[in-house]
Symmetry: C3
Subunit: 341 residues, 3 copies
């Protein structure tokens, strides 16, 4: 470890402390009060639970990251939530929109932070803590700019203006990852053990269980339809993941890595379109397609595309979150076109 890096490392706590002081100061000036919340507390609690446990364990699949992934995940989420709540306050302040109540603010902030957590999955094992903290702040700023473009120029309604969060997170992470130097592929850092695999499966299950809450938390009104569609798409995704995993392996056994990523594909795809789907069979077919492209994408990318483009994607966020989100965006366009005919 060079002395240069050591000095760099010692700056981490001061950097974070400085950020925290800025947050407190800005909250002092900007905050104002509203009373009623349209987000119910159990819904927020589900999303919070999913972020801390789901993504915390989803990323423990590398042997050396047991504690640090759950720990850093917490640090990134709490920093990101404060940062995102501030960006929201600033944009409301500039646009002279009415302020929202506290619970809605932190729920929206928690949903935005998903982007950072997904990006972290792509760069895990190649970045140091300082870089992760900086990435959190920078990514939150860019995400809010993209959300602002969505609202102002594309006229996306407010409750779905942040549903591109998986897409944004996956490709932002890949962009950052392609700038970092690739670790030597044989290094012990990339190894996984049965125990870390089990923890990772635990994370997947948390994400699977709470995904309907995530998709429905910001959808005012037609809550139950969103929940039902997301659940049924996730169920079909899970079935398809097991099926295709057994088909694409030579010995006909289920492979953990496939299941790990493909069971969630339906939920990611539905995040755009869930409030627009009238019949469950549409959600089921989207869930099936999402799961198939995730598994096919997983084997294609690792064999051909990634070596060609020199992208190193530690936990496969490209096919886990990127591909299904693109499919969801396409489905949204088609559904709007059909509706308008």
């Amino acid at each position: 470890m060079s002395s240069n890096y050591r000095n760099f490392r010692n700056s981490v706590p001061w950097l974070i402390l400085f950020l925290e002081a800025v947050f407190i100061a800005l909250f002092y000036f900007l905050f104002s009060d509203k009373d009623l919340s349209f987000v119910s507390y159990p819904d927020f609690q589900d999303v919070n639970h999913m972020m801390i446990f789901g993504f915390g364990f989803f990323l423990t699949f590398l042997k050396r990251y047991g504690f640090s992934s759950t720990g850093f995940n917490l640090l990134i989420i709490v920093l990101g939530v404060q940062c995102s709540a501030l960006m929201e306050l600033l944009s409301d302040f500039r646009l002279k929109m009415p302020q929202e109540d506290g619970l809605t603010k932190i729920t929206k902030a928690t949903v935005s932070v998903t982007a950072v957590v997904i990006s972290t999955g792509a760069v895990l094992g190649k970045t140091n803590p300082v870089q992760l903290v900086l990435m959190t702040v920078v990514e939150m700023i860019f995400f809010h700019i993209s959300k602002w473009i969505n609202s102002i120029f594309l006229q996306v309604p407010d409750n779905s203006s942040m549903m591109h969060v998986h897409l944004f997170g996956a490709y932002f992470g890949l962009a950052v990852s392609s700038c970092c130097s690739e670790p030597s592929p044989r290094s012990e850092k990339n190894a996984s053990t049965p125990k870390s695999d089990l923890l990772s499966m635990l994370g997947t299950l948390f994400l699977w269980v709470f995904w309907p809450s995530f998709n429905s938390v910001l959808s005012m009104g037609e809550n139950w339809k969103v929940i039902y569609n997301t659940y049924i798409a996730l169920a079909v995704s899970a079935v398809t993941a097991f099926t295709f995993s057994a088909m694409t392996t030579k010995d006909g056994k289920f492979r953990m890595a496939h299941i790990h990523s493909a069971v969630l594909a339906g939920g990611v795809t539905l995040s755009y379109t869930d409030h627009r789907i009238q019949y469950p069979w549409i959600a089921m077919i989207l869930g099936l397609l999402a799961s198939v492209i995730t598994i096919l994408g997983s084997s294609c990318l690792q064999r051909c595309l990634n070596p060609a483009l020199k992208i190193h994607d530690s936990s496969g966020v490209h096919f886990t979150f990127g591909f299904p989100a693109v499919l969801g965006a396409l489905a949204e366009v088609i559904l709007i076109a059909v509706e308008n005919e």
Copy 2:
């Protein structure tokens, strides 16, 4: 592994894919829409959480089943939920009853799937994936027939017509288990390790925490009474489990296997009678009795009955779910008799 079995094994994905196609097609024809749900989303979420985590880890007590039990558990639940939702749709369609909304449908389906998951506990280690998938479909069909008999012939009100789910699951599982060949008792497949024991305890805790939600989710109206009665019965069961576990072992130490099964006994027993109990002391006494018969049953069965009847019950579903459910059914009969006097 014989080539015969290998061919058989290769048919798993095609079988599942065929099932999934049938589900999507039937959903296309049968589905119609209703708007208001009498099941609240947090209640459904609790039941879903309990199924995925509780039963997923409850069955990891065998060393070799860490991943496969949580994974298969997910596969069985999502297949079972779709299958059960279809059976429900079909029976509503034939009886020309008004359709229920989506959330109520999947909540009922999730409750029914408990039967399959409990049966899986009895046959774990003796069946291959194809058999498990087939068992899921067959058991769901039989369960809906039994539910239909309950509603039509026994005039059981709709909200408690599926509360025999533990009883059905336990004895269906034992019946299937007695048809399978018994594995050699010394095989490494039946070993447990401290780590798998801890995971299994985790599963028990999930089930314990969410059992009041499970019992109350379909009981319209008198929700809080059901929750209170179930909680207090579970509390007494837990105390009794520790007490009797220390009494029946020679060195006076608590034995994990006892606690693992007996803390849940009160919840199983109350699943029938919870809406009928007026005073908490009745629930407390039922919880105490349930826990006692589970622990006594556990030592009797393993010593005398199972070898005699040649039943091999991998995770003890007979005394964990079977006995307390029988006690619950008896208590229900007595309570109705007392009420009518």
Copy 3:
């Protein structure tokens, strides 16, 4: 193991069974019914979840206590809840107050039991099961006396009369601990392993996620403000914990033990003042201060105070729960003084 101790040990089940019989008998005489609950079921479920999982795993950090800590935790909670519900019934009966409904009763009882669970953390590794069971009953009686003093003499409103539960638990535990003989510090009982550290982190995360529910469950009316303030204080605590942990260690790395205790400090501090705080920046500053005194306290206590006072505090409840609760009490006094000016 002396024969004396063995006889003593054999009395555990009879002691517990006797207690349980007393509980059932008293419930038979005292219980009466009310219908509406001001505690919503999802809120109770969150608190229950937090007690069973959060504290269950928070205490698994010692290698030898994997199963026994989660198991005993369950036993202590269910005994404590019944004991506390009875004390509540008795005091309502004597004061001729109107009775509360079942759900409110068990929610209040669950909140009180936190005191016992925190005390257990201080004496872990030095007590046998009989002592723990006796401590549970005695501590619940003393806690209800202290609560009664709060209500009658100090005129604390009913919904915050039990918010000194962390303070009470920490110092009661330390008092009991100073009476026990200290175990030899090199004994294997105090060792921790990476795996037990990860489980312990899991417990911390459960506590962190559900702390807003804990603080808000008994606060009638201004629910959302309490939730928002607690969340933001916990977020700042978590950031500060990471920062100061890196500052106080020589190599600039995060230390698990610090993070383990300091991320929760904000929640403990806010348990008194959460309904009185009007602006989020006050909550943020309290969260920051709480986290700082926890980390500083942790290094001071272990070096100077504990050896001097001959206190042995197994899991550091003094600085994890004691110090932040004292800070919270001070903040409450200051806020009331400012309001009255």
